[in-house]
């Protein structure tokens, strides 16, 4: 007995040390906002290898087998309630209470255990020490139980083994519960697996490993809640895993969010979403909110008969990183009353008089192009410096081709897209301004680089550029109606330092997918409330942004820009198709 007592004392000390260790770990691992110290003390990041309860991931689907084992290192007989749950954790597929003598071992084969109800399934298994064969109230065992598992793929004839996901029963203040204590979820409860961030310390090029169906770069993540009411069981938890994938050089190469309901059986490439991981090796991070329950993860890799896997450790945080830039093209399409804009033809039903007009020009500058990612963050598009259409962060869109009346000032070349590089990611919105960046707008236009060297877009009277020129001639009476918008009420010298009271840049913010969407420029919208067949005497033809020009009132309103007493509103010109 003396010997047993000594052993028990030693194991107690081990347990105490373990609890203290995990408590210290938690201070780093657990994210803020979990509440008081006691609550923190009951959560652990990385699961233990021994404890008062073991949890396993099993996979007994077709051509796969799993073996789990639980060992009782104590000198007492203990009783274990073993339950195998379905993948969504809503069903108990097999359950059995077994007794385990001193220094004995239990092997659990999910294909046959408890009547074989779990055969063909994958999910979670729990091994919970209980009071007796009849009373399955969870209790703290005399010594922490240990175990292991093996997951095997019969197609590949490969497999790997690992420690179980073990945890202790603790008091509210985080200290270890005494052997024999009832784990009721109140004064004594199991630690919660709450890593915050799970890490895959290393993965290898998915292209070189087995395909996902052969468990290449296999990822399993489980989310569950502890339910102590009416005897212990686990119930499903729903959350999502936000994955960040870094290559061997530490560069972020993919970001993606995956839903997790119960047990997620996936693979690395699926978790990375649209960004291909092929050709890379590195590490991955999954930020998972346990939502008051438990999260753990398993990662394995296999090449033929060789396989290796591990429980994913917890880390404090996802390293910061930006995805490497990828090429992006933002396409624009100029429309007039739903029809494609082109020179050398007429358009009907323009403006309040339903006039027929022939265009003489359609060019506009775009600046400060940004995409908004799924986190809501703006990411600048770094424009290709092509020496023709794009310079700095300004691009010229040119829809006229010098045919028809556009030949008067136009150019044969056209441009309907903005091209550049953007940090990789998932983008949901597009933002830009119609205009020329202030630092470039008031430079010396005689020496300005393309596309700021087009004299038809010089705005010399205001020491800047026309941000847009969309000009038409009415067929009925030859009235010329121009839409020239640029910054006005400027002070400065036209050599770089002008400031303008009326910026007149149109701010555009649109839902947008770079790969699928096109930005429509509804040119006729500028004219929708204007009469293009007339012009107020002694004012510029149409609207050239001068103050007190009646023709500018509807044009600026359509642009959403303030003009005179009108404070401006939402722009009617740009939309997405």
């Amino acid at each position: 007995m003396k010997k047993e007592t000594t052993l028990n004392l030693a194991s107690m000390m081990l347990r105490m040390r373990s609890a203290a260790f995990w408590a210290a770990c938690l201070a780093v691992v657990v994210s803020v906002g979990l509440g008081g110290v006691a609550a923190q003390a009951q959560t652990i990041g990385t699961p233990g290898v021994s404890g008062d309860q073991l949890v396993f991931l099993y996979d007994a689907r077709s051509n796969r087998v799993a073996f789990m084992s639980a060992a009782n290192p104590s000198s007492d007989t203990i009783f274990l309630d073993v339950a195998l749950y379905s993948q969504d954790l809503t069903e108990t597929l097999a359950a059995e209470t077994v007794s385990l003598g001193p220094a004995s071992n239990l092997v659990i084969d999910p294909t046959s255990f408890g009547g074989g109800g779990a055969n063909g399934n994958a999910g979670l298994a729990t091994v919970t020490p209980v009071e007796s064969m009849e009373d399955i109230t969870p209790v703290v065992p005399p010594q922490p139980i240990v175990g292991g598992f093996t997951l095997a793929n019969l197609t590949l004839m490969s497999g790997f083994g690992q420690n179980p996901f073990a945890r202790f029963a603790v008091l509210g203040n985080g200290s270890a519960a005494s052997p024999g204590a009832t784990v009721d979820g109140g004064s004594v409860s199991y630690q919660r697996f709450d890593p915050g961030v799970l890490m895959i310390p290393v993965y290898f090029d998915p292209a070189d490993l087995g395909p996902p169906e052969n468990d290449g770069n296999r990822v399993l993540i489980a989310v569950f809640l502890d339910d102590y009411d009416g005897g212990y069981r686990i119930i499903p938890g729903g959350t999502s895993a936000v994955g960040s994938f870094f290559n061997a050089n530490g560069l972020l190469i993919a970001e993606n969010t995956t839903a997790v309901n119960g047990v997620l059986l996936s693979d690395l490439q699926s978790m990375a979403g649209d960004s291909s991981l092929d050709g890379s090796s590195g590490k991955a991070f999954f930020e998972v909110d346990a939502s008051g329950g438990n999260v753990f993860g398993l990662f394995s890799q296999s090449i033929g008969t060789f396989a290796a896997g591990q429980r994913m450790p917890a880390v404090a945080e996802v390293p910061t990183g930006t995805l490497p830039p990828v090429p992006v093209t933002i396409s624009f399409d100029a429309r007039v009353n739903g029809e494609q804009f082109s020179c050398g033809r007429t358009f009907s039903n323009i403006g309040t008089s339903n006039a027929t007009v022939e265009p003489t020009d359609a060019r506009l500058y775009i600046e400060n192009v940004r995409l908004v990612n799924d986190d809501g963050a703006e990411v600048s598009v770094d424009l290709e410096q092509d020496g023709t259409w794009q310079v700095d962060d300004v691009a010229l869109l040119d829809f006229e081709d010098a045919t028809g009346l556009c030949g008067q000032r136009g150019t044969a070349e056209t441009n309907s897209s903005v091209r550049g590089m953007v940090a990789g990611g998932t983008y949901t919105r597009l933002r830009f301004e119609m205009g020329v960046t202030k630092s470039l707008n008031h430079g010396d236009s005689a020496t300005a680089p393309a596309p700021l060297n087009k004299t038809a877009l010089f705005w010399s009277w205001n020491a800047g550029y026309k941000f847009i020129r969309y000009d038409n001639i009415a067929e009925s009476n030859g009235n010329e109606f121009r839409v020239h918008i640029g910054s006005t009420a400027c002070m400065g010298d036209g050599r770089g330092d002008a400031t303008c009271a009326n910026s007149n840049r149109i701010e555009v913010d649109l839902p947008f997918s770079p790969s699928d969407d096109t930005v429509l420029i509804q040119l006729a919208a500028f004219l929708a409330n204007a009469n293009v067949e007339q012009n107020s005497p002694e004012t510029p033809p149409g609207c050239m942004s001068a103050p007190d020009d009646p023709e500018c009132v509807p044009v600026f309103a359509a642009a959403g820009l303030p003009y005179g007493a009108n404070p401006g509103g939402s722009q009617q010109i740009f939309s997405v198709e």
Binding site: T411, S445, S460, G494, R495, E538
Partner: protein, 413 residues
């Protein structure tokens, strides 16, 4: 002689100082001009354009031969004055191919004999568009801190040149969107290949918009008028250069009774004078009571004045008071050429604003709320009015109006 030269000179110097000037001191200006041979105004020499030799030594610095009393001009660092640049600019200034239809050059609206104006109320562009404003004189334009009638943004002649070349409302020279054609015309011409190459030798392609506008600006910066009878009397020691009537006219002009000198003061008889010793002279823009429309003292569109740029109601009708040098030959007067003769101009200021009795422009300019405080009106006798006119005529610099350096290098067509 009732009025001593020293007294007049002192008055002028004071006027200059009052307008923020400095450096108008004859002692510090470059040496006095040698007596200039009289130039026959009827038959000015017309040099034949010849393709000059390429100059391997690079451009030669242009040295101003300033009239006595004139301060050193302020030249932008990025466009130093060179003999070759000025020569190129003179060719470009008179080059009709600088209009798309080859009908006009800069010199069409800025004719030397009229002190680089055109004798029209408002200018006419190469395609027949009527400009809303009167062609401003280029006399001493190098001393203007801002250019044109009412644009505070146009500070550099290089920048200003882009307006006539590429402006569309109205069309002047008509090259909007046609810059390639403009440059091609010049690049195909052996004369310009050499002129540009000599003026801007260190560039791969010397014929650019930049070098074009720089050269035209350089030429304009040589257009200095300082040898009028007034100058000869005040600065050059010729007691007889000005008539007694003109001298009395000047004293009246410069008096607190008439207040003319507040807006037309100093060496250049303008509202401001910028030069190397006074680089940041502000440009006052003033409303001189020509019109009074609406409640805010507006001027008829599109010549709304400084308001166009500031959108401040008090800036309706404010224009830059121009130089009065060579004013005898620059009529019709005012920004819109709405006053035909100098005598009418004087009567306008006598009244302190113009009364328009009927029509769209009806209104009393004298009551314009934005009108300059100095423009209160004054009584003038017929004699005084004639003396004032004589003074204005004493500002006519025949040497400037006939100087072959400012004339067209091309033969008469």
């Amino acid at each position: 002689m009732q009025l001593g030269r020293t007294f007049l000179a002192l008055t002028v110097a004071l006027g200059l100082a009052a307008c923020g000037g400095g450096g108008g001191d004859g002692d510090t200006a470059m040496g006095p001009t040698d007596p200039v041979d009289p130039v026959d105004p009827v038959d000015p020499p017309q040099p034949t354009p010849v393709v000059p030799e390429p100059n391997p030594d690079g451009p030669t610095a242009y040295v101003y031969d300033l009239p006595p009393g004139f301060p050193e001009p302020l030249i932008p660092d990025d466009n130093p004055m060179t003999v070759e640049g000025v020569e190129l600019g003179r060719h470009l200034f008179y080059e009709r191919r600088l209009s798309l239809n080859e009908e006009q050059s800069c010199g069409s609206c800025h004719q030397q004999a009229l002190a680089f104006t055109d004798g029209l109320a408002t200018a006419e562009g190469s395609t027949g568009d009527i400009h809303p404003r009167n062609s401003p004189s280029l006399t001493n334009v190098v001393y203007n801190p801002t250019l044109t009638w009412m644009n505070p943004l146009l500070v550099f002649l290089e920048e200003q040149a882009l307006g006539p070349l590429f402006g569309e409302d109205p069309v002047e020279l008509g090259f909007s969107g046609k810059e390639d054609e403009l440059l091609e015309r010049l690049r195909r011409d052996a004369l310009y290949q050499v002129l540009f190459g000599n003026a801007y030798p260190d560039q791969g392609e010397p014929i650019t918009l930049d070098s074009m506008t720089k050269a035209i600006a350089s030429f304009q910066r040589t257009m200095i008028s300082g040898n009028s009878p007034f100058d000869k009397f005040v600065y050059q020691g010729d007691d007889d250069a000005m008539s007694e009537e003109a001298k009395r006219g000047f004293l009246a002009f410069d008096s607190e009774g008439l207040e003319c000198n507040h807006c037309h003061g100093g060496l250049n008889f303008a509202s401001s004078l910028t030069h190397a010793g006074n680089p940041n002279d502000p440009t006052p823009f003033e409303n001189n009571g020509l019109y009074n429309l609406g409640e805010n003292g507006e001027y008829p569109r599109p010549n709304v004045g400084l308001f166009e740029f500031t959108e401040r109601v008090r800036d309706y009708g404010r224009m830059k008071p121009p130089t009065l040098r060579n004013i005898e030959v620059t009529g019709p007067y005012m920004h819109d050429g709405s006053i035909e003769t100098l005598e009418e101009v004087i009567r306008h200021y006598e009244r302190g604003g113009r009364l328009i009795g009927g029509g769209d422009l009806a209104g009393d300019g004298k009551q314009n709320p934005n009108k300059s405080d100095f423009l209160t009106g004054f009584p003038l006798s017929n004699t005084q009015r004639l003396e004032l006119l004589e003074f204005f005529k004493s500002l006519t610099d025949d040497e400037f109006l006939n100087d072959p350096r400012f004339s067209s290098p091309f033969p008469e067509e």
